[in-house]
């Protein structure tokens, strides 16, 4: 027992060291679900555009808990646990659709679109026989409702009673970053999922790791889409919960990569179909790439004109589903739409610049398996979690652990 407790001590070095047991402790996984995902955090649920009309719904997740997100007859967005009050069966078995109420298939208990229990089959029995006692109150066990906030077309939910309002949770910089991308009504372009062979935290660290982007993803670097020598920066929210990594589209880079003889620098590697990299400055600020992540499991991506939201579903210690939803805007003309569809080649499980993430997080999971007491070193860009101009920094990764430890009371 003592040994167990000792193992879970965070190292004295603080945020610059991450113990490997953090990715492989089964008890911790359950605790994370409770304290983080079902705790005082905002979880991205879906795009508002995925609820296009009154009486539409889609299922989503808060951690590994299934939730139903709805738009009721008055247009109000709700989210509630996907669990019947009676025996705990899933209430909704399809990913999306149109419905005025939900009926559990098991015993036909019914719910309105706000998640209120509205009917118990044969509650009074038949002809005075059977049914529930008159004083029974099954409503008490109704699915838990999430507090919902919609920010610029993004639907977030929280189960925590003490979660601050969404914009306060994000802070002004991250809120501005969200609004910058979500500049018009969303048009859905489709999506897919990727099964990552790693703990969910490894993927979130990966998205916050601006240091790796142009080193692991050689495609990026080779075509000067994102080099660390390109102008850009790293913005870390005050509580560490959110971060933005960005770079300007214009290439002002020197030859640092070539001089250092890095694997990821291969000049002279030209595309036969360079139209793949054609893009327009739709935001009018010259920023070619913005990766924005929000604790615990949300990513908003702008890679040139390729826009997507990503959310994670933890599925055990060493498996995470990454749900990608790609979008444009209803105001897009055909040319911009075509650019988005072409640039989609850059992202997703087959993406020229993102396919490696799925593998790399798995490499850490496998590589650290036998070393629960060893520590990983997170010291690029110093020891703090503040914003900085250089992306040769792990400040946002440290920000992630700052949030994590606060929620886990660690």
């Amino acid at each position: 027992m003592n040994v167990h407790t000792n193992v879970r001590q965070w190292p004295d070095e603080g945020l610059t060291r991450v113990p490997y047991w953090i990715y492989s402790d089964q008890d911790l996984y359950a605790q994370e679900q409770e304290r983080i995902f079902r705790g005082d955090t905002w979880n991205f649920l879906c795009l508002e555009a995925e609820l296009p009309r009154a009486n539409t719904f889609r299922t989503s997740n808060v951690g590994d808990m299934s939730v139903v997100v709805t738009r009721d007859a008055n247009g109000v967005v709700h989210a509630f646990e996907n669990r019947c009050a009676h025996r705990g069966a899933l209430l909704c078995l399809v990913p999306h659709g149109e419905r005025k109420e939900f009926a559990c298939v098991y015993h036909n208990w019914t719910y309105d679109l706000a998640g209120n229990l509205t009917g118990v089959a044969f509650r009074r029995g038949i002809a005075g026989k059977g049914g529930m006692p008159p004083d029974a109150t099954p409503e008490v066990h109704a699915p838990r409702k999430l507090r919902v906030e919609v920010l610029a077309g993004l639907v977030f939910g929280t189960l925590g009673a003490d979660t601050p309002p969404l914009e306060a949770y994000l802070g002004p910089d991250i809120t501005r970053g969200v609004r910058r991308v979500m500049r018009a009504p969303v048009r859905l372009l489709g999506g897919y999922s990727q099964a990552l062979p790693s703990n969910w935290k490894l993927y979130m660290e990966n998205t916050k790791d601006s240091y790796h982007a142009s080193l692991l993803h050689m495609f990026f670097t080779t075509f000067r889409l994102n080099r660390l020598s390109q102008k850009g920066g790293l913005v870390v929210g005050e509580n560490g919960a959110g971060h933005i990594s960005y770079s300007m589209a214009a290439d002002v880079a020197g030859k640092e990569y070539e001089q250092a003889k890095m694997r990821s620098a291969q000049d002279g590697y030209a595309l036969e179909a360079p139209e793949l990299l054609q893009s327009v400055d739709e935001f009018g600020d010259g920023v070619g790439l913005q990766i924005l992540a929000v604790f615990p499991g949300f990513v908003l991506q702008q890679i040139r004109n390729s826009l997507a939201v990503r959310r994670i579903i933890p599925q055990g210690l060493d498996r995470t589903e990454l749900v990608w939803t790609c979008f444009g805007f209803t105001t897009d003309d055909d040319a911009l739409n075509a650019l988005r569809l072409r640039q989609a080649n850059l992202i997703g499980p087959a993406g020229f610049i993102s396919m490696e993430d799925g593998a790399a997080t798995g490499f850490v999971q496998r590589g650290s398996r036998g070393a629960p007491r060893e520590l990983s070193v997170v010291e690029m860009g110093g020891r703090g979690t503040s914003s900085e101009e250089s992306r040769i920094s792990e400040a946002a990764v440290r920000g992630f652990w700052k949030s994590y430890r606060a929620h886990m009371r660690m």
């Binding site: 897919y192 739409n337 569809l341 997703g348 396919m355 593998a359």
Partner: protein, 169 residues
């Protein structure tokens, strides 16, 4: 040949069989090139303006245009192979394609074929899994030079891809 079951004369039956065999042969050579890691040959199975698109049944059902891979020329396919060979990082792996019999139709001189596929992925560690199942929805150009794909739409039955999709399907 018009429609699917024109067996009104011996010559139309023969034409139909010729088309079917040509497409079966195209499919077999295509799958073999991928499974044998002859990826540089892969673009040559397409017309210069050939389209290659990987998507999911869910996206198709909802009319969503996004592709997991979306190429509109043989040049783009060559770029993808070049990137796989020189830029992208992934663990050594290979595929084994198992293809069903193509269902061939012909309209206005254009051949289309739908072919079920299952692809096993074999990692360098020996781990083998069913990586993908789905349907090829192809438009095929058949001329004196042989059969090539004018369009190949790979419709995955599942929306979930394990780890990454590097080698084409």
């Amino acid at each position: 040949m018009t429609g699917e079951h024109d067996c009104s004369s011996l010559s139309s039956v023969l034409r139909r069989l010729t088309c079917d065999l040509a497409i079966q042969d195209l499919n077999a050579r295509y799958a073999e090139a991928l499974d044998d890691d002859r990826l540089e040959e892969w673009p040559e199975f397409f017309r210069p303006d050939g389209r290659y698109h990987i998507t999911t049944a869910e996206n198709i059902a909802q009319g969503f245009p996004i592709g997991i891979v979306s190429a509109t020329s043989r040049a783009m396919l060559r770029d993808r192979i070049k990137a796989l060979r020189q830029a992208n990082v992934y663990e050594a792996q290979r595929y084994r394609h198992v293809l069903g019999a193509p269902r061939v139709t012909s309209q206005n001189g254009e051949l289309t074929a739908r072919t079920s596929f299952m692809v096993a992925r074999i990692m360098h560690t020996g781990e083998t899994m069913i990586f993908a199942t789905g349907c090829y929805q192809d438009r095929i150009a058949l001329n004196g030079a042989g059969a090539t794909f004018a369009e190949k739409v790979v419709v995955l039955d599942s929306r979930l891809v394990d780890t990454l999709l590097a080698i084409p399907l």
